[in-house]
C-alpha cells in the first residue's frame, strides 16, 4: 500500500472582506491507497472544508496538501487531480446535468476529452458496478433516491477516479436507499480498490470504515479504527456525536455490571449477549432446577 493523500499542518480560513471564518485547523494525516475512511463531525465542524481541500475546490491557507503526488493549489494540474478525485454530494437531483442516464455518465469523460469508444466502455462498466445496467437509456425522474445516488456515483466512476469522496451522500436517503448506497461504496472499496472518504452523520456507516476521523470545531480530535474511536466516549460526545446504538447499549450494560466486550455492530452485540448468557448458565449449572 502506498500513501495517496497527505495533509501536513493544513489550515483553511474562509475570508469575506475583513472577516475570517475558521474552516479547519492544523490537520495532519495520511491516507493509504485502498483505505476506507469515514469522517464524522457535527454541523459546521469542517468536514466539507476538509474534503474540498483534497480535490482543490479550496486551496489551503497554511500547510501542505499532497494528493496522488499533486498539490491541489497547482492550477495547471487541477483537472488531472479532479478526474482522479471524484466527489459525490448530498442531493442526487442536483448532480445530474443530462436528462438521460447514459448522457449523464458521459458528461465527465466528455469533459476530459476521452475518445468515444472508451466512453461507451466506461459507461457500461460503471453502470454494471452500481448495478443499474438496465437503466442506461432511461430518465432519472422515476428512480428512487438510492438509485439516483447510485447513478450519481456511476457518473463519477466513469471518470475512473482513484479516490471517491462522498459528502453526506446518504443523508437524504431512506433506510433502504442508504443500504444500497453503502453496499455500492463497500463494493467499490473492496473490489475496485478505490480509496473511499465517506462523510456521514450515521454512526452505523462509520463503523464499516477502516479508519474514522472525528472533527470538532475544525480540528481532528480522535482518529483510529472504529473500535478505537468509539471507545473514546468522552471525546466523541464532546464532538457532538452519539455512539453507535449497539455501543450505547453495551456501555449501559457494562455500567450495570455486566461483563461484556465493547461492540460496535448489532451482530457483535447479539453475539456478546448470547455468549454472556451461555457463560452464566455454565457458571450456575443447577440454576434451572431451583
Amino acid at each position: 500500500m502506498s500513501e495517496i493523500i497527505n495533509f501536513k499542518n493544513v489550515s483553511y480560513e474562509y475570508r469575506s472582506g475583513e472577516n475570517f471564518h475558521r474552516g479547519v485547523i492544523g490537520l495532519n494525516f495520511s491516507i493509504q491507497e485502498g483505505e476506507f475512511i469515514a469522517i464524522l463531525g457535527h454541523n459546521g465542524s469542517g468536514k466539507s472544508t476538509l474534503s474540498k481541500l483534497i480535490n482543490g475546490f479550496l486551496k489551503a491557507t497554511f500547510g501542505e496538501v499532497n494528493v496522488l503526488g499533486i498539490n491541489p493549489s497547482d492550477d495547471r494540474r487541477i483537472y488531472e487531480l479532479r478526474s482522479q478525485v471524484g466527489m459525490v454530494f448530498q442531493n442526487p437531483d442536483n448532480q445530474m446535468v443530462a436528462t438521460m442516464i447514459e448522457d449523464d455518465l458521459a458528461f465527465g469523460p466528455e469533459n476530459l476529452g476521452i475518445p468515444r469508444e472508451e466512453i461507451t466502455e466506461r459507461i457500461d462498466w460503471a453502470l454494471d458496478i452500481v448495478d443499474m445496467k438496465e437503466y442506461k437509456n432511461k430518465m432519472p425522474n422515476k428512480l428512487s433516491g438510492g438509485q439516483k445516488q447510485r447513478i450519481a456515483i456511476a457518473a463519477i466512476l466513469s471518470m475512473r477516479p482513484k479516490i471517491l469522496i462522498l459528502d453526506e451522500s446518504t443523508a437524504m436517503l431512506d433506510p433502504k436507499g442508504r443500504k444500497e448506497v453503502m453496499a455500492t461504496i463497500k463494493k467499490l472499496n473492496k473490489e475496485q480498490g478505490l480509496t473511499v472518504i465517506l462523510i456521514t452523520h450515521y454512526m452505523d456507516e462509520a463503523v464499516e470504515a477502516d479508519r474514522v476521523f472525528v472533527l470538532n470545531q475544525g480540528v481532528i480530535t480522535v482518529e483510529g479504527t472504529p473500535a478505537e474511536v468509539f471507545k473514546e466516549v468522552r471525546k466523541v460526545r464532546d464532538a457532538g456525536l452519539e455512539l453507535p446504538i449497539p455501543s450505547q447499549v453495551c456501555i449501559e450494560l457494562i455500567s450495570k455490571g455486566y461483563d461484556i466486550p465493547f461492540v460496535l455492530t448489532d451482530e457483535d452485540l447479539v453475539d456478546a449477549l448470547i455468549e454472556q448468557k451461555q457463560r452464566k448458565s455454565k457458571q450456575k449449572p443447577g440454576f434451572k432446577f431451583k
Binding site: N55, F57, Y79, R82, S83, G86, M87, F89, Q90, N91, D93, N94, Q95, M96, V97, A98, T99, M100, E102, D103, A106, F107, G108, P109, E110, N111, L112, G113, I114, P115, R116, I119, T120, I123, M139, N141, A155, I156, M159
Partner: protein, 279 residues
C-alpha cells in the same frame, strides 16, 4: 402533477421521427414555422395541418397527448382571436356592437391567427416529444457551432439549456410542495383581490428562490467535480450521423415549403380566389 408538464417532456417510443437527427429536426421545425407564417390560404393551412398530423402519426406519439399541450395556450388563442376580430374590418359586415364591427374579413383574420398559434404549438410540442432535451441541445449546439468563430460560448449555452430543461419539472414539483406546506400553515392562494393574491405568492417565491440557489450551489460544485471546461478538446459520446431517413425527412420538409408557396400563389387552384376572397 408537475411531471405531466409538457415542456421538455420526452415521449419514449421508437419511431422514424424519434430517430431523426436533431439537426434535421431543427431545420424542419424552422421550415415548418416559416410555413405557418407564410400561409394565407385555407388550403395552405390544410397543408400545414396535414404536415403536423402526418408527422405526429409517424412519430407514434398519441395525438391526444400532443393536443394536451394546447391547454396551456387556450387563453392566449381566444384573446388574440377576439382582439383580431375587431381590428380587421373588411368585406361584409356581420353585425355591430356599438362602434365595433364584426366583419367577414375580421372573422377570417382572427381564425387565421388562432390557427397559426395552435399549429405553432403543436409543431414545437411534437419536437420536444420526439427529441430528448439532450439531443435538442446537442443538435442546436452543432447547428450553432459556426458561431464559436465570433466568440459565442455555444457549448456553455447548450449546457445552460440542458440544465434548465432538466430542472423545470424539479422546480415545479418544489412549488407544489411549498404551496402545500404554506397551505398547512393557513395560507390562501385563491382568495381575495389581485393584490392580495400577489402578496400570497411571496411566501412561495422566497423559499423557492432559496432552494433554487442552494441547488445551483451544489450543481456548480458537481459540474466542477466532473471537470467541466477541463479541455477545449471536449469529445462527444453521442454520435450524430446523417442517415437515409434524414435525407427523406429533409425532402419532406422541402416538399412542404414548396407546396405552401405554391398554394399561396394559387398555382393549381386559381378558381378558389373567387369563392373565398379573404381566406
Amino acid at each position: 402533477m408537475a411531471r405531466d408538464l409538457t415542456l421538455g417532456q420526452y415521449y419514449p417510443v421508437e419511431s422514424f421521427v424519434h430517430k431523426l437527427d436533431p439537426r434535421i429536426k431543427f431545420i424542419i421545425m424552422t421550415v415548418y414555422i416559416v410555413g405557418v407564417f407564410l400561409v394565407k390560404h385555407i388550403y395552405g393551412f390544410a397543408v400545414v395541418a396535414a404536415f403536423a398530423i402526418l408527422s405526429t402519426l409517424i412519430s407514434r406519439v398519441p395525438i391526444l397527448s400532443v393536443l394536451k399541450s394546447l391547454k396551456g395556450i387556450i387563453f392566449i388563442v381566444i384573446f388574440t382571436a377576439v382582439l383580431n376580430v375587431f381590428f380587421h374590418t373588411e368585406g361584409k359586415v356581420y353585425f355591430t356592437i356599438g362602434k365595433l364591427l364584426i366583419t367577414e374579413g375580421g372573422v377570417f383574420f382572427a381564425l387565421k391567427m388562432a390557427l397559426r398559434l395552435i399549429l405553432l404549438v403543436l409543431g414545437t410540442t411534437l419536437l420536444t416529444y420526439t427529441t430528448t432535451p439532450m439531443a435538442l441541445t446537442d443538435g442546436l449546439e452543432r447547428l450553432m457551432t459556426p458561431l464559436t468563430w465570433i466568440k459565442i460560448p455555444v457549448h456553455d449555452i447548450a449546457i445552460i439549456m440542458s440544465i434548465s430543461l432538466r430542472f423545470i419539472p424539479i422546480l415545479m414539483e418544489e412549488v407544489q410542495k411549498i404551496m402545500k406546506a404554506q397551505r398547512a400553515r393557513g395560507a390562501e392562494f385563491d382568495r381575495g383581490g389581485l393584490v392580495k393574491r400577489a402578496k400570497a405568492l411571496l411566501p412561495i417565491l422566497i423559499p423557492l428562490f432559496i432552494s433554487a440557489f442552494r441547488r445551483a450551489d451544489e450543481l456548480a460544485l458537481a459540474l466542477d467535480a466532473r471537470c467541466y471546461n477541463a479541455t477545449p478538446n471536449r469529445t462527444r459520446y453521442k454520435k450524430l450521423k446523417m442517415h437515409y431517413r434524414d435525407f427523406i425527412a429533409f425532402l419532406a420538409g422541402a416538399a412542404y415549403i414548396v407546396l405552401i408557396v405554391a398554394v399561396n400563389n394559387k398555382f393549381w387552384i386559381p378558381t378558389l380566389t373567387y369563392s373565398f376572397p379573404f381566406i
